[in-house]
Amino acid sequence: MKKIETIIRKSKFGEVKDALHQIEVNFFSYWDVTGVGNEKQGHVYRGVSYSTSDIQRRFLSIVVSDPFLEKTVAAIIETAHTGNVGDGKIFVSDVIESYRIRTGEKGADALK
């Protein structure tokens, strides 16, 4: 099993979600984070203008069984992509074990 963590534009979330459902990745969790990266955003507050690289983004954590890894990554890259600085990242890491709390199932079964 692999954990795919991806940081995307909030405005791309709808499309990414639809694409994940398309390839039958129906389970994941997400939350909003602040991303620090290449993109900059201009602000003015009471005459003080400041530009910040701290931009609101959405963080998705998706655990999938190994056969799903590749197409999930591909789906995210395709839909979250705009070509502009700030599109975000995908990180893949290993998961040793998964459990479904409801049933106690383990391993890939817990992910179905």
Partner: protein, 399 residues
């Protein structure tokens, strides 16, 4: 000034101050019913339409509305209103004009260009509102002469705003993601608590709106004012009750935002007849308006696919027209249900349609020109990210 005149002036001033406060109510309803990323833009729209309106209506609008009638159609223009004993009237009429303008804001929220909105809002208080207002509220206006009754402005203020909102919402188009695959999607408002505070403030101000429209309180006016306060309150309460029960039946649960709209619908509807109907009549008007507003919002959203985030078209346009018509049924003097026959109802219908035709036509012309010149809508990117960060380089909510 004699005591009666002082009393009348004082009442009009106090009522006007209450109506002023409705601007805060409109701001809160609109921000509460929309997404937080656009809150700052909505604040700016609601503040600036009032500020522009205050200046413009004093500068010229008031005279177009109340100046000596030219062919019963428009008042004689004169610059910078300054009749020495009438400043309280200027104030009261200014806050009314600003109300009509601000109604449009809600229907086109979350996607409209700020600069275009400012121009439109200016024209609203400069031309659109004063002209139809002249027809009804200047004794020489053609609808006034006909005997059309719109005591505090169900049509003159609310419907004009509502029909302009209808045209604007169509021409600006729906928000991105509102209609996909022919289906209407919910875009929940970000803070119904703020929205409901807005409704309370509006209701609070409405006592000034309707009660103040008596324009006097001395002598026999006093009881009229008290009657108006009661009819206004009962209609608001009835609107809430009927909207709540309708949604309870229709969706299986008493719906919060629809109940809030029900209150407003009841208040808008009774505004035309608040001085002409009995308490029971007001209750009936409120009940009808509360039912109609739910179906109207539904119909406009799901069938017509016009995206109106706060329900302004239904609350102000539809309920305003409805309430004006219902005067023809419920007026204790001349209403159909009180043995007055169809005469009054007919006149009311003429007024409703004349005002709707005016508001729709002129709004279309103005918006069409604005669309071709400045453009009505922000870019896709601005809309998705939120208007605040692009139009105002700021976020409204921070740590």
């Amino acid at each position: 000034m004699d005591t009666n005149a002082v009393l009348d002036l004082m009442w009009v001033v106090i009522a006007g101050i209450l109506v002023f406060f409705m601007q805060a109510g409109f701001t809160l309803v609109e921000t509460g019913f929309t997404r937080s990323k656009n809150t700052g833009n909505i604040i700016m729209k609601n503040i600036m339409d009032f500020c522009i309106g205050s200046v413009v209506f004093w500068a010229i609008g008031y005279s177009l509305m109340y100046g000596d009638s030219i062919s019963s159609f428009i008042g004689t223009p004169s610059w910078f209103f300054s009749k020495p004993n009438e400043m309280h009237n200027l104030f009261f009429q200014t806050v009314f004009a600003a109300t009509a303008a601000t109604i449009v804001s809600g229907a086109i929220a979350e996607r409209t260009k700020f600069s275009t909105y400012l121009i439109f809002s200016l024209l609203m208080t400069l031309i659109i509102y004063p002209i139809s207002g002249h027809w009804v509220w200047q004794s020489g206006g053609w609808l006034a002469k006909m005997g059309f009754t719109d005591f505090a402005g169900s049509s003159v203020v609310h419907s004009v705003g509502g029909w302009a909102a209808l045209v604007a919402a169509i021409m600006v188009g729906p928000r991105i993601g509102k209609y996909t695959k022919g289906k209407s999607n919910a875009i929940p408002g970000h803070n119904l608590l703020i929205g409901s505070l807005g409704v309370f403030i509006l209701w609070f101000g409405w006592f000034g709106f309707n009660g103040g429209s008596e324009l006097a309180i001395s002598g026999e006016h006093a009881n009229n004012v008290a009657d108006i306060i009661i009819t206004t309150n009962l209609a608001g309460a009835a609107g809430a009750l009927s909207a709540m029960f309708v949604t309870w039946i229709a969706y299986g649960r008493p719906d919060i935002s629809m109940t809030l709209n029900g209150i407003l619908a009841g208040l808008v509807a009774v505004t035309a007849g608040c001085a002409a109907v009995s308490p029971a009549g007001a209750l009936a008007i409120g009940i009808i308006a509360g039912v109609v507003v739910v179906f109207s919002i539904d119909f406009i959203d799901k069938k017509l696919k016009i995206d109106d985030p706060v329900g302004a078209i239904s609350v102000h346009g539809v309920s305003g027209a409805l309430g004006t018509l219902l005067v023809g049924l419920f007026a204790t003097d001349g209403g159909l249900f009180y043995g007055g026959g169809f005469h009054k109802l007919g006149i009311q219908a003429i007024g409703v349609f004349a005002i709707a035709a005016w508001a729709i036509t002129i709004s279309f012309i103005v918006l069409f020109i604005l669309k071709k010149t400045m453009g009505l809508r922000v870019s896709k990117e601005e809309e998705v990210d939120g208007l605040d960060i692009h139009e105002h380089k700021a976020n409204c909510f921070n740590e």
